[in-house]
Subunit: 209 residues, 2 copies
């Protein structure tokens, strides 16, 4: 399991000059909270203790910030499926690891994850298409692992891999809506509960074999 999360923010008080990284991080925070179109360069400047126009000494424009943040989010999620694909565990175990990895990414990088999921549609067309393609690959990794699980006999033979992948990712992606860092559950606990739900369902006993 790779390390997740970002270093603590560098004393976001008054004065002091900010790095490009500070700018990107502040933009993640604001885009996640107010949306891309709901955040102005002046808002961002205020968050950083500088004028909106000063941000242009760090980045070429607002677009660049969105592109970079969404790209980071995509890379984080990508690394989860890449790691699982490299494993020699059973398909069902790989799927369980993917669930845990996804939860870890969200919990450790809420702002990037939220911007990735909610603001990608505002990317310039070329970048948007790239992200859509990445997202399709991510979903495909789930589809393939589910198919492998059916083949190895650990997953129910009547599953539709495409729909099942969507449903599992639905549970995973929604975490971004309800997760609060102040909550009592650890990432591991959340992932375990999700996996229990996904694997057993909610009925007291199975209706069919």
């Amino acid at each position: 399991m790779e390390s997740i999360g970002t270093a603590a923010p560098p004393a976001a008080g008054e004065g002091g000059n900010r790095s490009r990284e500070d700018v990107v991080r502040a933009a993640s925070r604001l885009f996640a909270r107010r949306g891309y179109h709901g955040t102005s360069m002046r808002d961002l400047g205020e968050e950083l203790g500088m004028l909106g126009s000063s941000i242009y000494s760090h980045v070429s424009g607002k677009n660049e910030l969105l592109i970079e943040i969404v790209g980071r989010g995509a890379a984080l999620f990508d690394s989860v499926t890449a790691e699982a694909a490299a494993s020699r565990d059973s398909a069902v175990e790989r799927l369980r690891q993917m669930v845990h990895g996804h939860v870890n990414v969200v919990v450790g990088n809420i702002d990037e994850a939220r911007t990735f999921l909610f603001e990608s549609r505002f990317l310039p067309e070329t970048d948007r298409r790239q992200i859509v393609a990445m997202r399709d690959e991510y979903e495909q990794a789930y589809r393939e692992t589910i198919r492998a699980g059916i083949d190895e006999g650990s997953l129910a033979s009547d599953l539709d891999p495409g729909m099942t992948a969507i449903f599992i990712l639905s549970v995973l992606n929604a975490l971004i809506r309800w997760y609060r860092p102040t909550g009592e559950r650890t990432a591991g606990a959340i992932a375990s509960e999700m996996w229990a739900f996904v694997s057993h369902g909610i009925l007291a006993e199975r209706v069919n074999g």
Copy 2:
């Protein structure tokens, strides 16, 4: 089961004067596609074949449109849990009906549902709080039905009603992300597949009793 969906749009061509209802419907479409902050009154006017300033003869402002659309979405979802609560069926059957009802609302009112789910955060503070409260009640209806299902013995006794409610709603709400009217599945087929996933999970056989 109540009737869902809205009447066909009234010949959205050139000329002709539009009703307030036309304005609200066009706003639903644009807010759903471009977001609230990504839609200008001039964009909306263009969609309606009039100037942005002319819209103010139908509504008091952009805010009013968002409030109305989100309110409609909330009312639609509310009616689903209200109907289920009034039923004398078993808890597990009521839960199944709630899943079907939710899918019907989304499929029949995509734009309102999408605006409700993605743009509520841009409401004026007072309205936003009302919607958050409504959403809490909706979630609570799921929690209570799940608890009743555990009590009647149809749902697994080790379920956490709060988490389970969130997980089920995650699958339901995500529909708004992947549903396309051009897809081959009917609302009923989608709801059935969701219910199968939620009730049985994905494993070939249960691990515990």
